[in-house]
């Protein structure tokens, strides 16, 4: 690693000194001119390209850094209000969580893309080439002939070698952010960049060390402007890179470049790009071991996904096999298709604990009936909620994205995905009610209802029973695990056959995103012994107070359900104390555990190496822990830059020690 680059961009953030404010009232002037959205997007892109000033660090090989801090909106507040009234606007309204076809543009160059583009696309390409030309001029002025030579070739023409390909990627990715798209993913980087890498390596252009250094320089570029990107918290920016996995011809895609990417991520220890490793039951242990070496660093990646389950699940949803086999992950874990996908993988979320709670309270208030009747009520709640959500999401409208459109070959898939938050919490509530109210009759409906209404304030014994002693998903209790599976099945059933307003299907998933806090905040005490407002577990994981006997039981519990039908994405998370990764032997054992999860048919797994002590200290002395990285849900962040409730949630998760 080039120490001075790391120092400049990461430690000192010295490039922030080149940043300028931008308060141009673009929206007002566009509105006054009565411009339509595509024209506005094009004009703003042209404006921002002009407003950028080239800067480069003397030793960096991959250039382009943002200097304009703000990205003025293209609509006024009133216009947004009208848009939101007349359309369903997803999040910020700009396209997000897409994976463009970088490979084609890197190969052909932008002039070739321009030849096929419409007027807006051509103007955007011209503006971008203009900015890159100014970068080239700056490089010449600084005597950086190497940079100037690269920029003579790209982005106009296709890349001829590894360095040009990396620089071209950087230009394209930079342009997507500049356009205003967000959660811009990286896709199967080790596949589309591999031909350039292999050619240069075979020609002896680089030693492995030199190639690694170049790659690290490139990886660093994901972290230069990321504080300017939008997200729930800093770090939530969708720069997900996918490595390995099955190729369309059935062979394994993990190559020398994949390995070098794992190494670069390990060496840099930065939160971007977020590494995802595609594996399957056939993946050799050595690849898991390489992945675990990265886990050890404590960034919370790689995240693993199981090709056997994901490809099958996607084809069942209607994806063509040749697309499904090419899947990547969106910002966090949602499975999407690069180049041809237009899915909105996170358009809504189902709050499982709330639905279950409603059914439990209603049934118990009405005298209870039988447990199967209660389950029917839960199923009906899920169906009703899915009907409500899918019915309410009509007339979805996105701000046009002329540049993103240049990097896509149509919009073949227009499917919508729903998260499912708190599945374990909901399953636990059902398991507890079944055992104590219906079977053992140890707890009367009145007592439980009273406790739920009063947040267990005057019934500590019941709280203890339900919270710590009741059957829980993830603790090896077959019934609780099966109830979780049932919830997922009903979720998938409720969405099956439904069409969204773009003609696509609906996908059920196991992700929570921020809903483990948001959904939980609105929800009172629940029958699993969770008190009012307490968060759910993250994604497809045990509740925060489940007494999980260990990671084996956890893995077994969360691979019993049929995930093929709930394949929108959302991993089981395992937290390990950092000390677990002390030697090659224990690294190997963790790798075996991951392989076991995959071989059991688990769909997605994410491991953390956590240092609880460091987190406690960091809360007290944030200034000393600026580089401490933790995993949040589908992304990682600098601990000290998180809000307190996110910090506390990370610290409360189940942790496996040596």
């Amino acid at each position: 690693m080039k120490r001075e680059l790391y120092q400049y961009y990461i430690i000192d953030r010295a490039h922030h000194a080149n940043r300028v404010e931008c308060r141009e009232p673009l929206a007002a002037s566009y509105a006054a001119l009565g411009l339509h959205a595509r024209e506005r997007m094009t004009r703003r892109f042209e404006f921002l390209c002009r407003a950028e000033t080239p800067h480069m660090h003397p030793s960096e090989q991959i250039v382009l850094v943002r200097t304009v801090k703000q990205q003025p909106d293209i609509f006024t507040a009133e216009e947004w209000e009208t848009l939101r009234r007349t359309h369903f606007i997803h999040e910020h309204g700009y396209v997000s969580n897409l994976s463009p076809d970088y490979g084609a543009a890197i190969q052909s160059g932008l002039l070739a893309v321009r030849a096929r583009a419409d007027g807006y696309g051509r103007r955007m390409i011209d503006a971008l080439i203009g900015l890159c030309d100014r970068y080239r001029a700056e490089a010449e002025r600084l005597g950086r002939d190497d940079v100037a030579a690269v920029l003579t070739q790209v982005p106009r023409y296709g890349a001829r070698n590894f360095r040009e390909a990396l620089q071209m990627f950087r230009i394209l990715h930079y342009a997507l952010w500049l356009e205003g798209d967000y959660h811009n993913t990286v896709g199967r980087f080790d596949q589309y960049l591999y031909p350039y890498f292999r050619r240069d390596m075979e020609a002896g252009v680089y030693t492995r060390e030199q190639a690694l250094e170049l790659l690290e320089d490139f990886f660093l570029s994901f972290n230069k402007d990321s504080d300017l990107y939008i997200g729930v918290q800093q770090g939530d920016n969708g720069q997900s890179m996918v490595l390995g996995g099955r190729l369309p011809d059935g062979s394994e895609g993990f190559n020398e470049l994949s390995e070098l990417c794992l190494l670069a991520s390990r060496n840099l220890g930065l939160i971007d790009p977020k590494i995802n490793l595609r594996v399957s039951a056939r993946t050799p242990l050595s690849i898991y071991e390489k992945g675990t070496e990265l886990t050890r660093v404590g960034l919370g990646f790689p995240q693993y996904s199981n090709d056997d389950v994901v490809i099958e699940g996607l084809t069942r949803l209607g994806y063509d096999y040749e697309d499904a086999v090419n899947y990547v992950v969106a910002a966090c874990w949602e499975f999407i298709i690069p180049g041809v996908g237009n899915d909105v993988a996170n358009i809504g979320a189902v709050n499982f604990p709330a639905l279950t709670d409603r059914a439990i309270r209603r049934c118990l208030t009405q005298g209870g009936g039988t447990f199967p009747e209660l389950l029917q009520a839960v199923q009906a709640e899920i169906r009703r909620e899915c009907d409500r959500i899918t019915g309410s999401i009509q007339d979805v409208w996105f701000v046009p994205s002329p540049f993103m459109d240049l990097l896509r070959d149509g919009k073949k898939y227009n499917n919508f995905g729903l998260h499912g938050s708190g599945i374990a919490c909901a399953a636990d509530a059902l398991a507890a009610v079944e055992r104590y109210v219906y079977q053992e009759k140890r707890v009367t409906p009145e007592r439980l209802l009273h406790a739920l209404d009063t947040d267990y304030a005057d019934d500590p014994e019941l709280l203890h029973l339900l919270r710590f002693e009741a059957p829980k998903m993830g603790t090896g209790n077959d019934r609780a695990d099966a109830l979780g599976g049932m919830l997922l099945d009903w979720f998938a059933d409720a969405l099956e056959g439904k069409r969204n307003c773009l003609g696509g299907v609906w996908r059920a998933g196991t992700g929570t995103a921020m809903y483990y806090l948001w959904h939980a905040r609105e929800l009172g005490a629940t029958a699993d012994g969770r008190r009012a407002g307490e968060p759910f577990g993250t994604n497809f994981s045990p509740s925060l107070f489940a007494q999980v006997p260990g990671p084996l039981t956890d893995v077994i519990s969360f691979t019993k359900q049929n995930l093929i039908r709930a394949i929108n994405g959302g991993p089981l998370t395992l937290e390990f104390a950092a000390g677990v990764f002390q030697n090659p032997e224990s690294i190997r054992k963790v790798a075996m555990l991951v392989r076991y999860f995959i071989q059991r048919g688990g769909h997605q797994l994410q491991l953390n190496a956590v240092n609880l002590e460091a987190m406690r200290e960091a809360q007290k002395h944030p200034e000393r822990y600026r580089q401490l990285v933790v995993r949040i849900w589908g992304w990682s962040a600098y601990f000290v830059e998180l809000d307190r409730d996110f910090q506390n949630h990370v610290m409360a998760r189940q942790e496996y020690t040596v």
Binding site: E461, P549, G550, P551, T553, E585, L593, Y596, Q599
Partner: protein
């Protein structure tokens, strides 16, 4: 046959090859001053309170009628933080074998298995034999022992195992009495037998600063171990952590670093 178990740890990383689960049997005749499992010492079920997080709300001190709480002085079913538990769960060997065999596929596919540790498992030799017989041929079985047991008992249990980790802590008899509370004659006798038994094994020495880590002791232990495999275990600086939880005091004779 029933046994008293104070912990079952999945994915134990330091107790043998592959992915393993370690069963910790309660009760130990030794009193090594560096012991990091104080809840494994007494052969009786006892109350275990994670003191460091206790807010002393007093709920657990209220009298209760749960049969399982009687004699412990605390109620096990009320702590809002779940800090109060009982160290020591009675297991039928058949039930414990079933529990362990549920995960036999992962043990097998990773070259792992089950490890019996403690406390001193040989204190519950009959239970161990019953359990190990049920696991025979289905999972790899490892024993971790101090070797402090009557030779007959030692041989009986060892013969039911596939691998044995045996401690050699101190070679000097007087030092052994001073720091572990018992003489080492039986241990040395069992070590000799183990070496000749043909049973795959490894001798382990915990490196306790100023006590076992002297060159003299390590050299003497190497002589006892002969050509058998040996391992040195680093001192666990967290050893004192659990003592307050069972109302014990950690020795002030250990000065790490």
């Amino acid at each position: 046959m029933k046994g008293l178990v104070f912990d079952i740890k999945e994915f134990a990383l330091n107790d043998g090859a592959g992915i393993r689960t370690t069963v910790f049997l309660k009760g130990c005749p030794l009193r090594c001053i560096w012991c990091h499992n104080p809840e494994g010492l007494s052969p009786h079920r006892e109350v275990y309170v994670r003191e460091s997080r206790c807010t002393h709300c007093g709920l657990c001190l209220r009298p209760c009628t749960h049969p399982e709480c009687q004699g412990l002085g605390r109620c096990l079913h009320i702590c809002p933080q779940n800090l109060v538990s009982a160290a020591g769960v009675e297991w039928e060997s058949a039930a414990l074998a079933r529990r362990l065999l549920e995960q036999s596929d992962v043990y097998e596919s990773t070259g792992g298995g089950v490890t019996l540790s403690g406390g001193e498992p040989l204190q519950q030799a009959e239970f161990c034999v019953g359990l190990l017989e049920r696991l025979r041929g289905r999972v790899h079985r490892t024993l971790e022992t101090s070797g402090y047991a009557a030779p007959g008992v030692f041989r009986q249990v060892v013969s039911q195992c596939d691998f044995v980790y045996m401690d050699l802590k101190l070679a000097d008899r007087a030092a052994h009495i001073e720091y572990t509370g018992v003489p080492n004659d039986r241990i040395l006798e069992n070590a000799v037998w183990l070496r000749r038994s043909g049973k795959p094994h490894c001798f382990r020495t915990p490196l306790i600063p100023g006590i076992t880590d002297s060159e003299e002791n390590l050299r003497a232990i190497a002589r006892i171990a002969g050509d058998s495999p040996t391992e040195l275990l680093p001192y666990n600086p967290l050893a004192p952590a659990k003592y307050p939880n069972v109302g014990r005091r950690f020795s002030d004779r250990i000065r790490p670093g």
